[in-house]
Amino acid sequence: MSRLKPSWQAVLAILFCLAAIASGSIAAADPAGVYPYEATKGLILALIAGAALVSMFRIPAMLEVLVLFIGAHVAAWLLIRGIAGVEGTARAPFYLLIAAAWLLAWRCVAVLSSIRTGSKQVSTALRLIVPTIFGAWILIIWEAVTRGAGIPFILLPPPSSIGVRIVNSLPILAADVNQTIFKAVLFGYLIGCGTGFLVAILADRVPFMRRGLLPIGNMVSALPIIGIAPIMVMWFGFDWQSKAAVVIIMTFFPMLVNTVTGLAASGHMERDLMRTYASDYWQTLFKLRLPAAAPFIFNALKINSTLALIGAIVAEFFGTPVVGMGFRISTEVGRMNIDMVWAEIAVAALAGSIFYGVVALIERAATFWHPSVRGG
């Protein structure tokens, strides 16, 4: 058996290193004559080529992962640090080396995903590490390209300066999150989903409501939110109440429609069964129809968690006190503080993911019996 197991990523990374050596200087001439990365060029090449070579030997998977991880990330860090101060001067070798480092990270993730383990903690850790490396490389390439090519700050700031902006503006961001999410979104979400649910039960009880309300519901859910937001501001004032009103309108109908569908989801046999027990409407509702509707209701809760955030942020574009995520985005764009806009976007994405994740976790616990959750 051969002691070598070449992977195409490692081979390609070494080829990229050779091409980088052949194509000469890593960056255009610098008037000041300072090449902070020329000094580390040898180290970068050695790291990438070395890690690629080591990974081709038959060594334990964990050792291979470690070598690749260190090689790829230290090289990327040296490359990005080297370009600082002389942005926009990068030449082909810079991109070749970043690509080579990225290939090593790819190989690293590939080895990680192929590791089979019996331990639950290790497999949970692996499930987290793989997407983290994946996400980190989106940021690394974003950083390298914006700095290397000197992309104007206004068009696309590098992630590092967005990160610095987030850290330096924590009090402002916290106030915005408090205004938009903890006031407008949460209040509107709870009221919108709650009334949607109650009206669905009312529509189920009173057939006339179902026939009248659902077509109107479909029409209202097609209403452009841009159109109603200014009207809500006129009705409910500049503060968070008008944004909550927009959120209520946006979340009400998905909840209504999904709950009505869910209430029809229980089988004929199960309903006949309840009938043989002479079960009354409310007993059948609570013991059979609502549990059977739970997957639909949670679907609406998940859809609404993202809709509510969008609704509140967009509504703030139409008038708000001097705080709020939507307000910050619209004003900072006007002031060309694009890094602040990106900071708000990052915070909104994080908040939205947490919101969705919490709802999804509750769903897993509540509908553990559903084939999509129990897996079978």
């Binding site: 046999m269 019996w369 129990r374």
Partner: protein, 276 residues
């Protein structure tokens, strides 16, 4: 339509039944469908006494399930009358006169096995202590002790159907209506459950109405076999079983058993000859 009128012999045979639990008189049911009216049951006269085990057998579409559903007040007859325990079927349902076992187990997947058995008890307002006692007793009766905490989807099809029988027994109705309960199970499991069902019937002395399309199953289980035929659904023959109450599985090879089975088969064939 003269062919629908049952033979006088049968009517006379039924009037002898003591302590009637189910009395159907000139029962008819017509469904209004998009293709016009469909006569599911026509002129059914039938009396079932306390403690009997009666099977309804016939080809699909003969109305045997519909008849069971009329007894259960899940369908309303369009003519004639249906009395259960001397009341109308609706009153009997509201008085929780019967337990119904469906073709599928229809257990609620979000409830454990004991939770499923507790369902009718909760609806009927039985106290917690009484619930626990009855769950234990009925799960014992269907040999499911030890599976209380399992969820339905963790059990085999045969065990699920046994749990659904336990659920129907839990509230102690004297009448058990079973609609092809073992139809979806394999032969071996079915034999086993048939044996257990007979044992359970002997122990609880309930009246059982059992819909099936298997001749051996009907003959093995029943004290009386009601043969039905389709278009329109009607009773063509009622066969009293001469088999003893003690029935080991190998009774199915005895000449007596085979003679009854042959008569059921003849009845089914006769029903078919009315076609066209």
């Amino acid at each position: 339509m003269s062919i629908m009128i049952p033979e006088p012999k049968q009517v006379a045979g039924m009037s002898e039944v003591k302590n009637p639990v189910i009395e159907a008189r000139k029962l008819g049911l017509t469904f209004q469908t998009n293709d016009g009216p469909v006569q599911a049951l026509a002129n059914v006269d039938l009396t079932i006494g306390k403690g009997e085990f009666v099977s309804f057998i016939g080809p699909s579409g003969c109305g045997k399930t519909t008849l069971l559903r009329v007894i259960a007040d899940l369908e309303k007859p369009t003519s004639g009358s249906m009395l259960v325990n001397g009341m109308t079927a609706e009153k009997a349902r509201e008085a929780r006169a019967y337990g119904y076992v469906f073709q599928a187990a229809a257990l609620f997947p979000w409830r454990t096995i004991s939770g499923n058995v507790a369902l009718p008890l909760e609806i009927m307002g039985v106290s917690k202590a009484e619930q626990a006692e009855r769950i234990k007793r009925t799960l014992d009766l269907v040999n499911l002790s030890g599976f209380e905490k399992k969820y339905p989807w963790q059990l085999s099809g045969g065990m699920q159907q046994r749990a659904s029988i336990a659920r129907a027994l839990a509230f102690d109705a004297d009448l058990l209506l079973m609609d092809e309960p073992f139809g979806a199970l394999d032969e071996i499991v079915r034999d086993h459950l048939n044996e257990q069902l007979l044992e359970l019937w002997a122990r609880t002395e309930k009246t059982i109405c059992f819909v099936t399309h298997s001749i051996p199953e009907a003959v093995y289980l029943s004290t009386r076999i009601v043969v039905m035929s389709p278009r329109p659904g009607r009773v063509t023959d009622v066969i009293e079983s001469t088999l003893p109450k003690e029935r080991p599985l190998d009774i199915r090879e005895t000449p007596e058993f085979l003679a009854i089975a042959a008569r059921v088969r003849d009845g089914l064939r006769a029903g078919h000859s009315y076609e066209d």
